[in-house]
Amino acid sequence: MKGVSCLFQEPEVTSDFKNCENKNETGAESPFEHKVTLEFAVEGKNFRAAGEASSRLKHTLQHIGFPAPLVRRVAVAAYEAEMNIIIHANRGTLKAEITPKTVTIWAEDEGPGIPDIELAMQEGYSTAPDYIREMGFGAGMGLPNIKKCSDILEIETVIGAGTRLKMVIFNKTGPEREK
């Protein structure tokens, strides 16, 4: 597939979104491990629903009983990713897979893609139009904040087609997994 594609902390270049879907990236996860998957549809330009998906994810994590700092990191990362879809893309989904050790979030959208990822990772750089900045969004902190909050961040983007973010946050304080 033509276009720009880039990954962080994993040099392998994947250009097809669907191929990575079934990859088991978290390594030695046992199939019997309990995990729960949540999926939310995110509508582009719908600011009335802004933050709803990340809020729901946050509440679920609180119900599970994850430590507060981890919940905060996931919430902020998910929120920024959700806002990126709302601000820049036409539509997308926010998906989270929760296990005792890790929380993995995928934010996938159909949108313009990111022309220059390195630039986008810089604090304060934004391509958001003026009317969105006037609403108090698009301050150019989205991706830098996501990077700050997640342990692993991967970005794949295809210009004119869409962007896919994968964020992994480890629960470092969690109990040891049973073998």
């Binding site: 609180q62 119900h63 929120y79």
Partner: protein, 477 residues
């Protein structure tokens, strides 16, 4: 884990099990069981929303009895700033203080005066910690409990400054003990409180090991007597110590004005607060706000469950009354407060700890399993959040089912579905009449009618079934 305390109790005789309160509770702390509302002690934050919504006045806020004052040799009343907005006759602040004293206390110490000092302490703290905010105000105990329970990650952003009432009690005891040579333990400080959350905060303080306040008396309980005393009181006693800024702590916006923060937000009403705290936890306000004034009640403390006057009227009255006082603290007094502040006099003794009671199980793997199960159950429920099962939402019912404290048939729609299938089974059985028996046509007719009735689904469920059928159809295609 520490035992939780709360100050709202339920009068079972008055409760009709109407489910109004379960829908209103911001922490989903109420369930209706056996036709009566039950408060889950761990989750109650004393916000008073159930008191306001209940048409039967079944939730009763508890305060201390005046009998308790008899345990002390010397008693001091600590009137909350909100008290000053409670009287239609527009007495002067001095008259109100005189009336409070006439209730039978040996002394009066203004909480508004302590608020003046606390404002300066907060101002200084924020100045020293600029950019680390937003700092959340720490004087409303219901807000503190809300943050502990629903926004545990925000507990470290609560200002580590004592609330004005604690400072008032601390100062009152020290000053009286020094002036009259009475040991501090013989002095009883009694707070005239506008809200039940303060009663809990005194029993289980969040910033201290032990509260300086010895009891809390509800303003509404003392109201009639106070009005009589005001009518009889002439200008007497000592002049008012508090400034206009201290007095306006009783209404929303008062704290921010007193703290003189230019980067602030003042939020009142628990639902508005939920929204703003949610946004703060998602990082929306980072670096934009230094100070967030949090008031659980609409209008601030004048809207507390123990107040009598309409909160909007009380707000105006309080503002007018503040106009009668000097606008702010004299420079020399401010210097003294700053000196105390440097010694850490107003600082909290301990940090507010997160108090996560929302989690389903201590074992994370088990909790994840439970969440998975409850998501599955939730999909089977009608999603009406009607409250007929006694839970505030279908989601809470699903959670209660996985926790084992409710069953699926608590949902009347699920119950109805089961009755329908039972009726079908019964009919099927009834039709299997032994060949040797004569079939009575009339009985058959009645049975058919029963089945027809059972098949009639409530409109909402019919709609849902239609949808799911369509979905199935779509998938097959």
């Amino acid at each position: 884990m520490k035992k939780s305390t709360y100050s709202i109790f339920l009068d079972e005789e008055r409760c009709t099990g109407c489910t109004n309160c379960i829908k209103r509770c911001p922490t989903e702390a109420i369930r209706v069981r056996d036709g009566k509302a039950k408060i889950l002690a761990d989750r109650c934050i004393d916000c008073g929303e159930c008191i306001r919504i209940c048409p039967n006045h079944a939730p009763i806020p508890q305060s201390d009895s005046r009998e308790k004052t008899k345990q002390f040799k010397y008693t001091i009343a600590l009137p909350d700033p909100a008290l000053f907005g409670q009287f239609k006759t527009k007495p002067s602040p001095r008259q109100i203080l005189a009336a409070v004293l006439a209730l039978g206390f040996d002394g009066v110490y203004e909480v508004a005066w302590a608020a003046d000092a606390v404002s300066i302490a907060i101002r200084e703290f924020i100045r020293e910690h600029r950019g680390e905010g937003p700092w959340l105000s720490s004087s409303c105990p219901a807000v503190i409990r809300l943050i502990q329970v629903r926004f545990p990650s925000l507990t470290e952003q609560i200002l580590p400054i004592l609330s004005p009432v604690e400072v008032a009690a601390k100062l009152a005891k020290e000053e009286t003990s020094w002036q009259l040579d009475i040991p501090q333990q013989e002095i009883g400080c009694f707070y005239l409180t506008p809200c039940p959350a303060q009663v809990t905060a005194i029993r289980a303080p969040y910033h201290l090991e032990h509260s300086y306040v010895d009891g809390a008396l509800a303003i509404s309980d003392l109201y009639c007597e106070l009005r009589e005393k005001i009518a009889g009181a002439r200008e007497q006693g000592e002049p008012v110590k508090a400034t206009a800024l201290g007095l306006t702590w009783g209404r929303v916006g008062g704290q921010t004005r007193a703290v003189q923060s230019d980067n602030y937000l003042a939020v009142d009403g628990i639902y508005n607060l939920l929204q703003v705290l949610e946004e703060i936890e998602l990082g929306k306000f980072d670096n934009n706000i230094d100070f967030l004034e949090c008031q659980c009640c609409q209008g601030g403390c004048v809207g507390g469950a123990f107040t009598v006057e309409n909160p909007f009227v009380a707000r105006v009255t309080l503002r007018r009354m503040a106009g009668q006082l000097r606008p702010k603290l004299e420079a020399e007094k401010e210097q003294k407060v700053l000196e105390y502040n440097r010694k850490g006099y107003y600082r909290a003794e301990k940090e507010v700890e997160p108090y996560s009671i929302m989690s389903l199980d201590k074992d994370i793997a088990k909790a994840i399993y439970m969440v998975e199960q409850s998501e599955k159950i939730l999909k089977q429920l009608p999603g009406l959040d009607c409250g007929s099962c006694g839970c505030p939402t279908c989601r809470t019912l699903a959670e209660d089912i996985v926790c084992g404290i409710a069953t699926e048939t608590d949902c009347i729609f699920k119950l109805r579905e089961q009755v329908q299938s039972l009726a079908e089974q019964m009919l099927a059985l009834a039709l299997k009449v032994p060949p040797v028996t004569l079939v009575q046509r009339q009985i058959m007719k009645t049975q058919r009618e029963v089945l027809e009735l059972a098949k009639r689904l409530p409109p909402v469920l019919a709609k849902r079934n239609q949808k799911s059928n369509q979905k199935k159809g779509g998938e097959e295609e």
